[in-house]
């Protein structure tokens, strides 16, 4: 494979940064929005914002899957756990606040909540302990949903069910285009979601919303070149769909993964934390797999949750409307050690990335 260091070459970075200054419009703000926690990490960790011309802003959209999971669905997981079912989940879900409790709180009360690296590990656990009931909390975007599909279709043991909370990225991007005072001028589309759904999933953004859209990888140079490609389109008065991450993303994406998802899930409206219900933005298990649906199996019916603790601005941070530093709680009462909002919990949450990376005077 091509040497990793070539994608991080500081000399190339310096030269592309210089070039950004020559191509950026002389006046007016250009706002470029990404929708992936890993992009936010690359941008913040490598200090890329400091390389951009002053009038080029890169903002973070709702790209952290644990942050967007609404309190009502955390409440469902907590309720299942408190019924004596072993809940398995990814590590960063543990501390995400529900209306009253997180899964970690439930664990402290004696519930059996276990962290797994992958859904396959959750299945193995259920196989090893056939007398116990297990529920896997399936969160994540299109990158993660195929792995849930693979396991559901394999007919897992009877003692495991799935609390499916997968969300879809393009509907969230559509929401962003409709928020008028956000005034986004271009999208950096998420590289790993795109390995699955392909370039074609973003066709509507240039066509319908006249939004330059570039699918980008996660090395610092990937992001800088994506910004360049968007600025070039803006300069030429164009709105096109371009692929900066061709080494992993194709036009059609991972067709096999798409087919498995189609067999497993129906698309439904979904709640996003603090953002309300977005049409056709969530997966739910198809009728034929209802016996694996944890909500049905344990009779869980929660309609509404309390998404935002008092003062928490996660809903505004999540759409890039404000920076973490503009939230009155940030690093005062809401810290990585004692998070209040979901954006401070998720390892891809904008607040957590800023808190962990930037030396912010308190």
């Amino acid at each position: 494979m091509v040497e990793h260091s070539k994608f991080r070459d500081p000399e190339l970075a310096r030269r592309i940064a210089e070039k950004l200054h020559t191509i950026a419009p002389e006046s007016g703000i250009v706002k470029i929005c990404h929708v992936c926690g890993t992009h936010e990490w690359t941008i913040t960790h490598f200090g890329l914002r400091s390389l951009l011309p002053q009038n080029i802003e890169v903002i973070a959209g709702p790209g952290c899957p644990v942050c967007v999971t609404p309190a009502s669905e955390i409440d469902e997981a907590v309720q299942i756990a408190l019924k004596g079912v072993t809940v398995t989940c990814f590590g960063d879900v543990l501390r995400v606040p529900g209306s009253e409790k997180s899964l970690l709180d439930a664990k402290a009360e004696g519930a059996d909540v276990r962290v797994v690296y992958s859904v396959a590990d959750a299945i193995k656990m259920a196989e090893k302990e056939p007398r116990k009931d297990f529920a896997f909390f399936a969160i994540g975007f299109e990158t993660t949903a195929p792995s849930t599909a693979v396991e559901v279709l394999k007919k897992p043991p009877k003692n495991i069910s799935f609390l499916v909370s997968h969300r879809l990225i393009p509907p969230a991007m559509e929401l962003l285009t409709r928020i008028e005072d956000l005034r986004i001028n271009g999208f950096i589309a998420p590289g790993h979601v795109s390995t699955i759904i392909g370039l074609k999933a973003y066709e509507i953004f240039p066509k319908l919303y006249h939004m330059p859209t570039v699918v980008a990888g996660f090395e610092p140079l990937d992001v800088l070149f994506a910004v360049y490609m968007i600025l070039k389109q803006i300069k030429n008065g164009e709105a096109r769909l371009e692929n900066e991450y061709a080494r992993a993303v194709s036009w059609d994406g991972n067709v096999k993964a798409q087919e498995l998802m189609r067999q497993t899930f129906d698309i439904s409206d979904g709640e996003w934390r603090g953002l309300g219900k977005l049409p056709l933005s969530a997966f739910k298990l198809k009728k034929e797999y209802i016996k694996y649906d944890a909500r049905e199996k344990f009779g869980i019916k929660i309609k509404h949750g309390k998404d935002l603790p008092p003062g928490c601005q996660c809903h505004l941070v999540m759409i890039g409307k404000i920076k973490p530093t503009e939230c009155p709680l940030f690093m005062k009462v809401c810290t990585p050690q004692k998070p209040i909002g979901a954006c401070m919990v998720g390892i891809e949450g904008t607040c957590r990335i800023w808190a962990k990376t930037i030396n912010i005077p308190v």
């Binding site: 494979m1 190339l12 644990v66 792995s147 693979v150 790993h192 080494r247 891809e348």
Partner: protein, 78 residues
């Protein structure tokens, strides 16, 4: 969450593969979602290979980057 790490495929058997994340970190991952051969590189997300990486496209990207930067240089020196 959508973090995915490139790894080299060492062996493939029954929908699983042993992959090398570099510096000797080996792990078994599920390869149901991809068609992959030994020696190829895959992107691994939460224990599942989600895509095969293209060496040609990786080289092409680096070439394009340099081309973009060279074009700029020529304009400057002209």
């Amino acid at each position: 969450m959508c973090l995915a790490i490139p790894a080299k495929v060492i062996s493939v058997h029954d929908g699983k593969a042993k992959v090398d994340f570099g510096e000797g970190v080996l792990r078994e991952v599920d390869v149901t979602l991809v068609n992959v051969k030994v020696g190829e590189y895959v992107l691994v997300h939460a224990g599942y290979a989600i895509q095969v990486l293209s060496k040609t496209e990786a080289e092409e990207t680096i070439r394009l980057w340099n081309e973009i930067l060279e074009a700029e240089k020529q304009i400057k020196t002209r």
